[in-house]
């Protein structure tokens, strides 16, 4: 099935109860499939007037205690940063699926990896979010389920970051009930509208994200940052292959990783000293894992369909290690295994620096 259909089934498997959404290519079919599944499984949906509203109504659904989610892309992701800043500041566990497209707004409706910075750090805040970058359809399913769990466990906005290719292409997958795999879903709970008389039986919920003085904000944010940093080591996920032996370590995420994995395995079969490192979480970033994988590597190659958005994360997390970092940037364009292999061969032969 297509990636968008996978997301709808993943949300269903995760026990999502309501989706709020606004049409934008290439994520539309998530809504299309969700609204088709709705009557069969008692699920709700609201088509809002724009992405601002989709984000804020999703916040409302979560406040009401439901596993609520939305999906967007490109200019919709830009607009959604306002509600997501609120969710971040107020620790509201919204789940957002982003099917990246090329920017700005109307540049292309098809594909890119140009929403990494926006998704990880967009909005007026510090980027206290969880961002899972998927590469396969099975992962779209697995990480959609995981996103609801992580959001409700850690109470930070949680993203499944995929792209236009994943959204539209067809691939096989295994649909499963999380309970059958021993995955216990973290229960959702209402933040407003709990039982009892507020002020008598229980304190009223007085939720705000406006503070009178700077120090008050600092204290609130300081607590959130501390909790985010403390949880980060158990949230981060990465994948590495042949890293310890590699003269050249290739770093990529999302669907570009698939080209990298093919190219690297082929080169290894040909006797080349190459390996790969793939961050699965982009926020928080698996920095310690990257540094370990990069130990002993003579050079790194960062491959992405953007102009250095992943590279910024890599450089920040490698600071001080001294490994030279090369790049293959194709902003908004897909990258084939052949292109990666060619670049690797050139670097291994010392041709490019």
């Amino acid at each position: 099935m297509t990636g968008n259909e996978v997301v709808a089934w993943g949300a269903l498997a995760a026990g999502a109860e309501i989706m709020y959404g606004y049409p934008i290519t290439p994520q539309n079919e998530i809504m299309h499939y969700w609204t088709r599944l709705g009557p069969r499984f008692g699920k709700k949906f609201l088509q809002t007037e724009d992405e601002l509203s989709a984000g804020f109504t999703t916040i409302g659904g979560v406040l009401a205690g439901k596993r609520a989610f939305t999906a967007t892309a490109g200019p919709g992701n830009v607009l959604m940063q306002e509600p997501l800043s609120m969710a971040e500041a107020m620790r509201i566990p919204v789940v957002v699926v982003v099917q990246q497209r090329g920017g700005p707004s109307t540049a292309t409706v098809i594909y890119s990896q140009q929403e990494v910075t926006l998704t990880c750090f967009g909005g007026n805040g510090e980027g206290l979010r969880l961002v899972y970058s998927t590469a396969f359809h099975q992962e779209l399913f697995d990480y959609t389920v995981k996103a609801f769990n992580a959001a409700w466990k850690y109470r930070f906005p949680t993203f499944v970051l995929a792209d236009g290719y994943q959204a539209k292409m067809r691939e096989s997958l295994v649909i499963y009930d999380p309970a059958e795999r021993g995955i216990e879903m973290v229960p959702s709970e209402p933040l407003v509208g709990k039982p009892g008389m507020p002020g008598t039986d229980r304190p009223p919920a007085h939720l705000r994200n406006a503070f009178s003085v700077e120090e008050e904000l600092l204290a609130a944010l300081g607590k959130d940052i501390e909790e985010y940093e403390a949880a980060a080591p158990e949230i981060v996920e990465a994948d590495a292959f042949n890293a310890g032996e590699a003269g050249l370590l290739v770093v990529a995420h999302g669907i570009v990783f698939r080209s990298v994995a093919m190219a690297v395995r082929e080169l290894v079969n040909q006797g080349e000293r190459v390996g790969y490192f793939r961050p699965i979480t982009l926020r928080p970033f698996p920095g310690a894992q990257l540094r370990e994988a990069a130990q002993g590597a003579e050079q790194l190659l960062v491959v992405e369909s953007a102009y250095g958005q992943l590279n910024k994360l890599v450089l920040e997390n490698l600071y001080g290690s001294g490994v030279p970092v090369r790049t293959l940037f194709r902003p908004g364009v897909g990258i084939t295994p052949e292109e990666v292999a060619e670049k690797c061969r050139a670097l291994l032969a010392g041709k490019e620096g």
């Binding site: 109860e17 804020f56 409302g60 406040l63 009401a64 509208g193 009892g196 939720l207």
Partner: protein
């Protein structure tokens, strides 16, 4: 023995006296709302959402679950809650900037969808907390920080008629009214009916409230009351504009 004025039961006494400027109308609107909540007995299932601007100062005003949201975004948050938990009653509380300028698309679309929420919009003809700039409701000739020589309708348009717009675009079951802090009993009745309309599941409910801002109007008590009672009704006539089944007052 000193007899103190009675606070609505749904008010949060720990946060009184409230934080609004002397002479501000918000206290009266929130008193009317508090009385309406008490009379209807819905304190335990009502969720109150407030916008940015002066209305955000109401974030801890009631012993009622409250969410303070962003500029113009209170309506969608309340819509989101209501769609997820229809048994709750949601009240979106905003100013003229939040409801008629930055958030007007949400107001228009919630009204069009006939969302079962109650919106209360406080019209004091200015952006108050931001420092007294022109609002969509600033009246012709009114001086604000961005219309220092008075609002020129040729250049910036005429005051927005919110309830008239909502009445025109809303559907069967909607309740639309304009009250004033100068007519407290009538205002309380409007707010009560707006919540009752939601309880009955009839449709979207919207009440604009004419209110005072002596701080930004730079008016004394007499001038403040004069602007509220004489100038504002010329542009914004109070009364019910749409009542399910008719019989507007």
């Amino acid at each position: 023995m000193e007899i103190l004025p009675k606070m609505p039961k749904s008010w949060n006494p720990a946060t009184k006296p409230h934080k609004f400027c002397p002479g501000c109308g918000h206290g009266l609107v929130l008193k009317a709302l508090g009385q309406a909540i008490d009379e209807l007995g819905v304190q335990d299932r009502l969720v109150f959402g407030c916008d940015i601007g002066c209305s955000l100062l109401a974030w801890d005003f009631f012993n009622v679950d409250t969410v303070q949201t962003h500029h113009g975004r209170t309506t969608p948050v309340m819509v989101g809650i209501k769609r997820a938990r229809p048994e709750l009653l949601t009240v979106a509380y905003m100013g003229d900037g939040g409801g008629y300028a930055i958030g007007s698309q949400h107001l228009v679309n919630a009204a069009t969808r006939n969302d079962l929420i109650t919106c209360i919009l406080v019209n004091n003809t200015t952006y108050a907390m931001t420092g007294g700039q022109m609002a969509p409701t600033t009246v012709p000739g009114q001086k604000t920080e961005t219309t220092p020589y008075g609002r020129d309708v040729e250049e910036t348009g005429s005051p927005m008629l919110g309830p008239e717009m909502v009445a025109a675009i809303s559907h069967a079951g909607a309740y639309v009214a304009r009250g004033s802090v100068g007519r407290f009993r009538q205002l309380k009745n409007c707010l009560r009916k707006a919540i009752e309309n939601q309880m009955a599941g009839r449709g979207f409910s919207f009440v604009e409230v004419l209110s005072t801002c002596p701080t930004n109007w730079r008016t004394d008590a007499e001038q403040t009351w004069g602007f509220l009672e004489e100038t504002m009704p010329k542009y914004f006539p109070p009364g019910e504009l749409k009542v399910p089944g008719g019989k507007e007052e």
